[in-house]
Subunit: 133 residues, 2 copies
Amino acid sequence: MQMITIQSDAIFQALADETRLRIIRLKIVMGDESCLCELVDSLLEPSYKLSRHLKILRQAGLLSSQKEGRWVYHRLVTKPAYLEQLYATVQALPDSNGIYHADLKRFRDRLRLREGGRCQVGIQSEAFKTEAG
Amino acid sequence: MQMITIQSDAIFQALADETRLRIIRLKIVMGDESCLCELVDSLLEPSYKLSRHLKILRQAGLLSSQKEGRWVYHRLVTKPAYLEQLYATVQALPDSNGIYHADLKRFRDRLRLREGGRCQVGIQSEAFKTEAG
DNA sequence: TGCATGGTTGCACTATAGTGCAAGTGTTAT
DNA sequence: ATAACACTTGCACTATAGTGCAACCATGCA
């Protein structure tokens, strides 16, 4: 089920949050799809928080999500064309405090844990592991 | 007095509002500078509302403002370069309900009231005239 | 000086958005 | 079945954002 009328400001609304911008920037640079636990280990934010931000990005039409077993992979939506243009702009924004660079480094490290191009492990950062409850 | 650290998400925050997007879109297309009363007559929104949105756009670094007598002229900021890129993206967004087209028409009509390239009259739309208080 | 006028802002109100906790869903492995 | 785990979500709370009213400031003109 999709929205019929897409509000232009909803796209900017979606990017008007630092956590969501971090997610989008990561995915612009890396291009690849990624699951939630990889993002948790890259951004060092709790899974429930990222899960909700991912949902917002999905609803804004910037991400598409696909379930594979226990994992859910998210990827950037690139159509219509102005989205590509938007991503180029996002990529051109200054990394004022080096946060995107740090995210990217952790993300690259984390991707090495994949096997066959697919995530095989859960959250690695101790502080953000799901409490077995 | 300017902010030292510019938050990237502040730019998107600034565009995450329909009224502000309408202002920016008008100015992207028309290029020219414009005063508040011209915007009131173009967007048909009360002056106090637009005045506040203009302030937010100014603080986000998207507009610069200059006072000339009783009028304050606002123009788009075009540096750094990614702002031009951003405006191109904004211009590419769909005009889902024709609102930008309508704004633009009223704006063009309103510009005809200028003399010597400068606004000489106040708010023309009856409903939004400042009540003489 | 007085007043109309272009524009701004303090205040109160309301709506919305982000967060953490804890409980929940669905899938895989034992 | 049972447990572990990747991910999601209902609830309560807090912070922030948008709005309208009315008062205000600043400029130009009679």
